[in-house]
Amino acid sequence: MDEKLQEDSLDARLRDEAPYIDDAGFTARVVQKLPARQVRRSYRAFLFLAITLAACFAAYWFAGGTSLAIDAYTNMAMMPVTWMWVCAAGAALLVMAGGLAAALSRSRGRSR
């Protein structure tokens, strides 16, 4: 019985005598040493979009500008309706696939 009491009192002392260590700037020092934050995804996406738009504009400009747009409009107007539907469905599928991929990668990041 004495043995048990002694053991309990030792355990209690071990627990009680473990002091709470005051932060005293420790957290700030750790955070200061963290590697710089990665470029945010939204910023990267914006950059990617800007480069794509600039490339499109350059292609449009060097390919003859206005005449290219008129030719494209005429070609599309002459396109059979079935083809128009196929193109629209293809574009919709592409957008859906992109959205799905983004959602999946985000949910994977959260579950880790």
């Binding site: 053991e7 071990l14 627990r15 005598e17 709470y20 260590i21 005051d22 957290t27 955070v31 945010r40």
Partner: protein
Amino acid sequence: MALADADLVARVLVDDDHHAFAELVRNHQSSVRGLLRNLVRSDVTLADDLAQETFLKAYKNLRSFRGEARFSTWLYRIAYNCFREEARKRKELVGIDEAQLEAEHDPQTVDPALRHDLARALELLPVHERSAIVLCCQNGLSHDEASRVLDIPLGTVKTNVLRGREKLKKMLSAWGSN
């Protein structure tokens, strides 16, 4: 409302949120620094350096935290590995002077001017017993969790806790402080 460790970890992983990581450090700094102070025998500067290294390693390897164990257990494991790496360089962190330990058991040789307390008794234990006692009795880990932190079999943890306790009791009774 304070966020749970899992939410803070998710924020760090998804948004690289330094504020969330700072919250994790604030929540666990005391126990990690306390563990390391016990392991390095109260060398506060070295313990804090190792604690800093522990949190930086935790940040870099956060993706490998699967959430199967408690976040604190995972941190203790990193802290213990940091200590082991340091102990390989400094033998005095692991070694124990057996003659000194015997002298501490003998009430005739105890220096009455010294304040002999539990912390001093803990310092005199060999590192494997000290780490098991600190993790299980001070930090509240189960034997199973401690065996994962220390990377030793469960039976060895139980033996180390038992032997460490016996030695502590002997020392404290020899000093008349229990």
